[in-house]
Symmetry: C2
Subunit: 339 residues, 2 copies
């Protein structure tokens, strides 16, 4: 470990650390730089989007869960592809190429790594990105298993849809499920052993193991005039707050619009003796889309209205996210360095 000179990464948290790193990363300017789901790069033949994401054992997945469930390489490969594809999707772009870097402990079974390659490829194919090249990668040794994928993508419209374009009066809309991956995580982490799971419970866990970002919906929303968009990777409220900050607006979410999400998760919430609301508003990893559209837009297929965009008010409540008008603690949601 490096010499500890006062402040550590764990003290500072993810966004604090980013604020310290970004000013020090000084290359040529990107058209859209750090801070959106993916970067936008100027290139001779047209701009392209570029993103990277890492999954680390025991942080982003477990090989064996308290419920006794064992994650296959296939699941981890799928998840790596899905979360990177989701970032490209959220820019309103289609993936063009992927490279993969694997860090593997030497005792990792070869079949597990083979499964990982198959899961990555299957996600590409089944989610609708079979036009994306899987172009190469890097293999290395480490004491913990991790997989990093970087993806490039091509825009389907003239400009990407950013987090910063929401306007007061816009409709806030969601595509995809909310809270399923979080409920699945809770079951994986529970003492209810995998052999006792019902079919419904297995399906919810599948939402955590193999998320399905709606890859048609990002480009469709871009073509339909979405004013802002991002993928929901860290929870509806945390991500809505990021969008509110980037667009300098406030967002009010209508709890009534979440009823189906809540109902879907009620049985598993009762089994685990909890409430489903935290999963639905703060649960990450579903990789649906959060988008805003100008008032009176007919929402593209699969999107549903969940709230409204308002002008940022006084400095005290600036950029807040509320539920039926009540302020919420937007720190709810995932932070990699929170203890």
């Amino acid at each position: 470990m490096p010499e500890t000179r006062s402040l550590t990464v764990g003290n500072l948290g993810e966004s604090g650390l980013l604020a310290r790193i970004l000013p020090r990363l000084q290359g040529a300017a990107a058209l859209v730089g750090p801070g959106d789901d993916a970067a936008l790069i100027a290139a001779p033949g047209g701009a392209f989007v570029f993103t990277v994401d890492t999954l680390v054992e025991n942080q982003d997945f477990r090989l064996r869960w308290p419920s006794g469930f064992e994650s296959s390489g296939f699941d981890v490969g799928w998840k790596s592809a899905a979360q990177n594809l989701s970032d490209v999707n959220a820019m309103g772009a289609c993936a063009t190429a992927a490279v993969i870097s694997l860090t593997l402990p030497p005792e990792t079974p070869v079949h597990w790594v083979e499964d990982l390659a198959e899961g990555f490829s299957a996600a590409m194919r089944e989610l609708g990105a079979s036009h994306c090249a899987i172009a190469g990668g890097d293999l290395g040794r480490g004491s913990e298993l991790s997989i990093t994928a970087a993806l490039t993508g091509a825009l389907v419209t003239e400009s990407p849809v950013l987090r910063s374009g929401a306007q007061p009066g816009d409709i806030l809309a969601v595509h995809g499920v909310l809270g399923v991956a979080a409920a699945g995580l809770a079951l994986l982490d529970s003492s209810i052993q995998t052999e006792n799971w019902t079919v419904e419970q297995q399906e919810i866990v599948l939402g955590q193991r193999r998320p399905k970002p709606p890859l048609d919906a990002g480009p469709l929303a871009a073509k339909s005039g979405a004013s802002a968009m991002m993928d929901i990777s860290d929870g509806l409220f945390k991500d809505a707050h990021r969008l509110a900050l980037a667009s300098d607006v406030e967002i009010d979410i209508n709890q009534e619009s979440l009823i189906k999400d809540l109902e879907r998760l009620l049985p598993i919430a009762q089994t685990l003796e909890t409430e489903p609301l935290a999963w639905v508003i703060s649960g990450g990893e579903d990789h649906g889309l959060l988008a805003t559209f100008p008032p009176r837009t007919e929402l593209p297929e699969g999107f549903r209205k969940v709230g409204t965009v308002h002008a940022a008010a006084t400095s005290e409540t600036k950029n807040r996210v509320s539920l039926d008008g009540d302020s919420l603690n937007v720190s709810a949601g995932f932070d990699h360095f929170e203890v």
Copy 2:
């Protein structure tokens, strides 16, 4: 750890593992797929190159070495940028954009991560890639420190220079130093404490800490008609063997051409009571270029002839690399999973 079902990654080694993974990574075809320094991707506005590399603590660098030397974040950031830039360079391309993913133990000092960002940026600038955007990235937590960078690049010629283009009769040439990074590694790993290093020894260690891939030389070689090219990341002989395999040729290296490399490292070899030849022929991480040129080509500036390409002979010696006609064990060189 995953269930151990017979064969592990450690048993199989890097190239064996690659042979098992690649057929399972089935996406759309890249123009140039896995197996070269970087992939070449078809895109609407013209093909681009794409590469990824990971550095893992205690595998690719140490935070504290047996000599007492402590690697700064700056060194590790520099190295990450340099080795990725080198892969782009080896295709005869110029870097256009980089994304970075950091995995950090929570106890990592913030200043160390700030230094890493500065080292990455400094390498981009000082090596001559200041036109490359540093576009964003990903931050996550892990028990060991690692940094992954993915880079895209633009070709300067119609087609990239691959490993597979060498022809019998071609000149084998090298650009850059050989064995310096390996000698630096040996000193870092030695019991000679850092405070006792001479200025010359410090400079050799600097070659290991902050390699300088010659970024003008890759595009220059491409324009000068290089028939094959790759970066020397795992040692002259191991990399020459890869080139010989890809091009289906044999390569003979002329030891006389390595005399200056050997002489440069003689003092430090004497100090460490060893011979410099192993460093020069098997030492990796210098990130110079290995290229072949048609006979009678006037070598571009900075390249020097080190050998000759021959037709592949009988199956017994097929694709061999020799030193003054004597076969060598080409397994010499770095393998991530070798014990």
